[in-house]
């Protein structure tokens, strides 16, 4: 026969256990019911894809994500995890990326305002700091929700921009069906990007739907001086690759700059001259 004290002890254990189980179940139910788990999963996948993309960019580059849902994030080894302090089960919102090289990755950000992922000299870095230049862009866009801006740093060659463009398009594909605030690139007021297409053409353009923003972002200098229409036109005449649509776009100010370069050697040569003209842009 059990003593009275023993009965009370086991009853307390049972009650505490039951409360814990109920709390975990309620927490999971809320996560699923509010869709929070899916938003976390999306962010984890998004960051993992971004890291994979950065590894493919030949030069140094970085991607800025806003974090409107106020999640924490960790990168450990080859896994991205997104979580909050009150998560009962950690690791449900996670996704794998594939490392390049032997970097030991163990990075954490607690409730950052921005999630800035960069690849500098082959190493993946995580930061919540956005330089003023990019902060201005984000403010200028009046972002209310999660947005992504991707700029590849023109350190090595033109392919960095191609990938940046590719990533932007990829993310358009991801988010166009989702009402989570991501807008197609055309909706940005000023986006600088560069890409080369599969047929070995390279192009650079500055979208200047809003001259005001272009000026505030330091793009005006590029548009008006170093890469003025006349200088671009000269380049284009030299290359003799201007097609009708492109000309129309230039004339209508939809594109400020657009260059097609037909060969690899020419591409690198002209690309380098563009980079030097763009140096002021990233400062």
């Amino acid at each position: 026969m059990k003593k009275r004290g023993q009965l009370t002890f086991w009853m307390m254990i049972s009650v505490v256990g039951a409360i814990l189980v109920a709390y975990v179940l309620a927490n999971i139910a809320v996560e699923w019911g509010t869709g929070s788990i899916f938003v976390k999963s999306r962010l984890a996948r998004q960051v993992a894809l971004e890291i994979n993309s950065l590894y493919a960019v030949p030069g140094n580059s970085y991607i800025i994500n806003e974090n409107p849902y106020n999640f924490s994030i960790s990168l450990k080894d080859n896994e991205v995890r997104v979580f909050q302090d009150n998560d009962m089960i950690v690791g449900t919102a996670s996704y794998l990326f594939i490392k390049s090289g032997n970097q030991k990755i163990n990075l954490n950000l607690r409730y950052p305002e921005y999630i800035v992922i960069s690849k500098i000299n082959g190493k993946i870095l995580l930061s919540d700091k956005v330089d003023d230049f990019f902060k201005d862009i984000i403010k200028a866009q009046n972002f209310k929700d999660s947005k992504i801006l991707i700029f590849a740093n023109p350190q090595l060659d033109i392919n960095a921009y191609e990938l940046a463009e590719l990533i932007v398009r990829g993310y358009n594909k991801i988010f166009q069906e989702i009402d989570y605030g991501y807008k197609p690139m055309d909706s940005y007021d000023a986006v600088l990007s560069m890409h080369s297409t599969a047929d070995d053409f390279a192009s650079i353009y500055v979208n200047k739907k809003s001259p005001k923003y272009a000026e505030s972002l330091g793009l005006a200098k590029i548009i008006e001086k170093e890469l003025s229409k006349s200088s671009i036109q000269t380049e284009l005449n030299q290359i003799e690759q201007l097609d009708g649509n492109l000309k129309e776009a230039l004339d209508n100010d939809k594109l400020a700059v657009y260059i097609k370069i037909p060969s690899s050697s020419k591409r690198i040569e002209i690309g380098k001259s563009i980079y030097s003209a763009l140096e002021g842009y990233s400062k």
């Binding site: 699923w32 994979n52 993309s53 493919a56 060659d157 990938l163 690899s264």
Partner: protein, 155 residues
Amino acid sequence: MSINKRAEVGSKIIFYMVFAFIATVTAGLLVYIITSEIAGISKIPPGLEEYLLVKRFTYSKDCFVDESTGIISWDKFTDITLRDCYNTDSNSVKAFRLSLSIIDSNGKITEEIDSITTENYDGFFTKKIEKDIEILKDSKTYAGKLTIYVENENK
């Protein structure tokens, strides 16, 4: 036990059985609706991840691309380079086998490296991608083809 009590117990069992059935169906429906409606936000478009990973092979200087020219280097196309630039042994991610060939003006393969694999490649590819590329070998540029076999396509 009286007949009334037996009937009462019987009706309780039927009630619980019906309740359990309805609760299960409702829970199942809820899970289905929630997952189909909300889960879409975390869905990656088919092919995007693979597309980005393949870019690593064709553009990254940590992989096969020559530092100075930006062209795929014949000498860098090795298992060691691949396993360093695609550093995983996990079967939960995509695996790749790659081969590289130099092609003459008649479209015939004159030289080939067949093949190199990522560490997690088990030999069962489900997709083949071919890319026309330039190859740098002995300081000369050749027309070539990069063939990529993808395993775990849907992971």
